[in-house]
């Protein structure tokens, strides 16, 4: 039998997948746009949070600048779609390769440091990149880039028009699920075990004959790719990109999302993103100051439940199990 944490993760996976299916069917049937687009957005930012969780929850590296790769992916995909060709596959392919290279280069800078230094370096890298983009006229400077064309995706069954919110929701769901699947697969490989070992005690890795540098670099590049591919979906949904995508608030929000959902669970960030995005949309209808509420919730979670919502579910399941055990003995 699976342990409680794995069971909790499986449960959340199923619930999220079930609600996605329900939303797609009901939404398409009723011709809804708002909720489908909201769910798509939460998936996109969920992908970003996923990359933060890979670094923070699995390897133990807190990145405060993951928006750098997210924004990079968004800008690159917007450029490809506008200037090169309106092709989904091409955009994702180029973004994947380019972000892997970017992540590889950045890893040499960021991974020289550990702990809080790593957090501050990633923060600084993203801040500098955001400033550069903000002031580069050919990238639209502070206005960003508008007019990203609506995609026609070629499939063996004919062309798919992504302007249909339901279809694009499915495409994003598929993309993020693939990214999630890849990360889960990596966790089951020896590299994944090394990641967890690095998280618990990096110094001791050398005692059992492993170097920590390689696995850390793999994780860093993977995180960059996951963030960038999620970012690549953004201009397809919104039709524009802006330098705000690289700002600290985006990186910070991703960290909040991960902590809310549950650090180190990979599905927690997706759950957190769904909740946070819906919450923002609900609260945004009556006040523009949603940060204050989210900040308060965040502080409360860090203090009282550092393991996030999944942690709460695990505790709950353990209690239920204990009761069952008691029942058996009586």
């Amino acid at each position: 039998m699976l342990n409680t944490k794995a069971r909790a993760i499986r449960l959340v996976e199923l619930v999220l997948l079930g609600s996605a299916a329900a939303l797609f069917i009901v939404g398409t049937y009723l011709g809804d746009t708002f909720f489908l687009r909201l769910a798509t957005e939460s998936l996109i930012f969920g992908g970003l949070a996923l990359s933060v969780d890979l670094l923070l929850g699995v390897v133990g590296l807190l990145s405060l600048g993951q928006a750098l790769y997210f924004g990079f992916g968004a800008y690159l995909s917007a450029l490809i779609l506008k200037e090169l060709a309106s092709s989904f596959a091409l955009a994702i392919l180029i973004v994947t390769i380019a972000s892997a290279i970017l992540g590889w280069v950045a890893s040499f800078i960021a991974l020289r440091s550990k702990g809080v230094y790593f957090a501050l370096i990633t923060f600084g890298l993203a801040q500098v990149a955001a400033k550069v983009v903000y002031n580069t006229r050919s990238l639209g400077a502070s206005d960003g880039m508008m007019g990203v064309p609506i995609l026609q995706i070629w499939t063996p069954f004919g062309l798919i028009d992504t302007s249909h919110p339901g279809i694009f929701f499915l495409i994003c769901l598929l993309t993020i699920s693939i990214l999630y699947g890849i990360l889960k697969y990596f966790l089951s490989t020896p590299t994944g075990s090394l990641w967890l070992a690095i998280q618990s005690n990096e110094n001791r890795l050398a005692y059992i004959g492993y170097k920590s540098k390689g696995p850390k670099q793999v994780a860093f590049i993977l995180a960059a790719v996951v963030a960038a591919v999620s970012g690549a979906l953004y201009p397809m949904l919104r039709g524009f990109v802006s330098p705000e995508l690289m700002f600290f608030s985006v990186s910070g929000n991703a960290v909040v999302t991960v902590v809310l959902g549950g650090v180190g669970t990979l599905i927690g960030p997706i759950l957190g993103s769904v909740l946070l995005t819906s919450f923002k949309s609900v609260i945004g209808t009556w006040t523009s100051h949603h940060h204050i509420v989210i900040g308060l919730i965040f502080v409360a979670i860090v203090i009282s439940a550092p393991k996030g919502l999944i942690g709460l579910i695990v505790t709950r399941m353990n209690k239920v199990d204990a009761k069952k055990e008691e029942g058996k003995h009586e």
Partner: protein, 294 residues
Amino acid sequence: MLEALQYIYTPQVINGLSIGVAVILMALGLTIIFGLLDVINMSHGEFYAAGAFISVTLMAMGISFWLCLLLVPLLLIPIGFAMERLLIQKVFHYKDRHILTLLLTFGVAMVLEDAYKIIWGANPIKPSAPISGASEFLGVMFPNYRLFLMGFGAILIFCVWAVIYKTQIGAIVRAAAYDKEMSSSLGIPVMRVYALTFAFGIALAGLAGVLLAPIYSVFPTMGRDFILMAFSVVIVGGLGSIKGAVVAGLLLTQLQSISSLFISPVWSDPLVFSVMVLVLMFKPAGLYGGMKNA
């Protein structure tokens, strides 16, 4: 050549110095808090903004700028004390407290920034300089307020150094940073020292806010733009080192202000950051070690 030195470089150096002094005040707060508590205070920039906003409000109530210099830190000390006691202490016993306290202060920053928007609005407020006029120095005119800022800041930085290294209070703080258990068994109320040190760091940030409000405008996200520079200074100088903060603060702000003569100011931030990366590559703990090594 000499004229270039006099009319181009000197003003830039002096301007860099006046900003440098304020950056050092910010960085001192950060580095003291880290040196003692091992806490990266992500809300430091927001307390800098708090200092500026409170001074603007107090001055609107008719209180003079000079009294603000005293009142704002006094108001911020209990706030910092309460924050340390009620929030940071709560996660202090976890293994990954480095990251948890960073997240916690990040959450506080989020709340504060939005609170400023609600209370004071998003538009920049520009208070008038308390000292008007300009003086001639080496044949170039300088605003009197900037000259005052440099002098006052330098005295303040010296006072902080003297308190930490030359007084008994400073010895207690350093002892608590060096060995928490041993200090507490010698009768030092370590928990209270932690809270007071945190409050002291916050008060320094607030004071920097009061001092810089007449130069830059006051707006809710003002801390965010400033904090990267302060973090770079602290990293280059060595987390927890007072001497490092001063040296790196002067170095980086001079680099920023002189380089902006040759390259677009847009690129001076990346330049400062590259220096930080270079320092980290060759001296991962910064130029000077932490407070514990003192």
